[in-house]
């Protein structure tokens, strides 16, 4: 009788989609037969240059509207929020149905530019508002009625 042996590897696949599908099928068969187990690495999380602002889920940072922009052109994708998976993907990503979409830096940069544009457009309004609010705040700080001006009736 043949002895049982163990083999462990990190696999990187390179090939066309049809070959990859065959490869996935064979992995699936081996998984069903109990020949393989899949594990993902654990990692230690550390805050990095974030000044007390902890890393946050990408869907929280970007909001639903911007997430929809990310999956534009992927009509079968639906956003669902899955929390607390201790998976092994370190790059920011979204779980969309059964697929994982990595947050593309170029697209993220476009979103940063959009936000900057919106902020710049709001500036004039904010400056006017600042004066109005400061006047209200001044009254809040000192609710004493202003003294009557000399000569006022």
């Amino acid at each position: 009788m043949e002895g049982i042996f163990e083999w462990k590897a990190e696999i990187k696949f390179k090939g066309i989609a049809a070959e990859f599908n065959r490869f996935v099928d064979s992995l699936g068969d081996a998984l069903k037969a109990g020949n393989i187990t899949i594990s993902v690495p654990e990692w230690e999380w550390r805050p990095h240059h974030l000044a007390g602002c902890m890393p946050i889920p990408v869907d929280v940072l970007l909001g639903e509207e911007r997430l929809k922009q990310i999956i534009e052109g992927m009509p079968r994708m639906q956003i669902k929020y899955i929390r607390d998976i201790r998976g092994g993907i370190r790059t920011a990503h979204l779980h969309l149905e059964d697929a994982v979409v990595l947050l593309d830096r170029a697209r993220f940069k476009t979103m940063v530019a959009q936000v900057a544009h919106e902020l710049a457009a709001r500036r004039v309004e904010a400056i006017e508002d600042y004066v109005a609010v400061m006047n209200q705040v001044g009254r809040l700080a000192d609710p004493t009625p202003e003294p009557a001006r000399p000569g006022a009736g």
Binding site: C53, V60, F108, A116
Partner: protein, 345 residues
């Protein structure tokens, strides 16, 4: 605090925190490193409870840096404990308030400890507290920290100080100068984070504070005195002698009636805020700040309003300028906020 009380605190928090949510434990004082032995025991206990409950935790210590030693740093490194050192800025700013009992300034020792910590740990943060007498020095302090190579800077107002007589216009100018330092740092290829800027940058991306961001005092935030007394936030502990703020004790349990009464007084009820266009970016709901500034947890005072407006304007300036300048490091910095974060909320 005794170890028995500390264990009760850990158990209380593990029970109170919503399942699936990471729990942050922060050691502060007074000076927490005076009881480094106890910190070691408590960290061991937290790790044990972590395993038992399958909870994920984040640990941090805020210290004045004076008692800091190399073995302590080795311990923090090994146990993944984050260190924040309280230093208010260069010597002329720091020694205004942070002095020994004999009046001698503590700057030299603190800077030495900070440099030792930066040599040993990956990410050391500094906590600079500013008051009415030092707020004008903030840009100078930020520049000083940048030169030291500190990557993460916390600037926190002294909420117990009397802020009367502060010029709002000067406050805005001061914060804009901080923004300019921030921008210059990114232009020079040095990534930094300043809490008051970064917190608003994130908000701009998010579109404003969400319900989960609001003050969690008495619900998701707690402070514990050495006696085991429970407070709704660490800033309420003070000398542990104000029973009106105490919500019970870890040995005898929570006073639920007091807790309910407190929870009803969260949020913001300023009429002025309802129509303010900046309200979605404003921390007018911070219970402890409001309490110390106005006497009510849900009523924001004028200085908070002024600080928040100045902060929002400064952060807006940073965001628009660095984005317009097409600064790649800035994009990386923002993106880092989502790196690895997906599974930890």
């Amino acid at each position: 605090m005794t170890f028995a009380t500390a264990q009760k605190v850990v158990d209380f928090v593990m029970d109170a925190a919503p399942s699936g949510q990471r729990i942050d434990f922060s050691f502060f004082g007074g000076e927490p490193l005076l009881r480094f032995d106890l910190i070691g025991e408590v960290v061991g206990y937290i790790r044990k409870r972590e395993q038992e409950t399958e909870r994920s935790t984040f640990l941090s210590v805020t210290s004045n840096g004076i008692p800091l030693t190399r073995p302590m740093l080795d311990f923090f490194r090994a146990e993944n404990v984050d260190l924040c050192i309280s230093i208010d800025g260069p010597v002329e700013v720091h020694d205004l308030n942070r002095v020994h009992r004999n009046g001698r300034g503590s700057y030299a020792e603190v800077v030495r400890s900070l440099q030792m910590a930066m040599d040993c740990l990956d990410a050391v943060q500094v906590n600079a507290v500013y008051g009415p007498e030092t707020v004008g020095f903030l840009p100078q302090s930020v520049s000083f920290f940048m030169e030291l190579g500190v990557p993460a800077i916390h600037l926190n107002p002294n909420i117990c100080a009397s802020w009367t007589g502060i010029s709002y216009t000067e406050l805005v100018e001061t914060f804009m100068r901080i923004a300019d330092h921030y921008i210059r740092s990114y232009q020079q290829g040095q990534e930094i984070a300043v809490n008051l800027i970064d917190s608003k940058l994130i908000l701009f991306m998010k579109g404003g504070y969400g319900h989960d961001d609001m003050c969690g005092m008495g619900e998701t935030e707690w402070g514990f005195a050495p006696s085991g007394n429970i407070y709704p936030c660490e800033r309420f502990i003070g000398e542990d002698n104000d029973s009106s703020l105490c919500l019970g004790n870890v040995h005898s349990g929570l006073d639920l009636a007091r807790r309910c009464s407190l929870l009803k007084r969260r949020g913001n009820r300023n009429e002025e805020c309802k129509t303010c266009s900046l309200r979605t970016y404003c921390m007018n709901w911070c219970g402890c700040t409001n309490y110390y500034m106005t006497g009510s947890t849900d009523l924001a005072g004028p200085i908070l309003c002024a600080i928040e407006q100045a902060t929002i304007k400064a952060a807006e300036h940073v965001f628009v300028t660095l984005s317009t300048l097409d600064n790649e490091l800035f994009v990386d910095h923002l993106m880092r906020y989502v790196y690895e974060g997906r599974h930890y909320r």
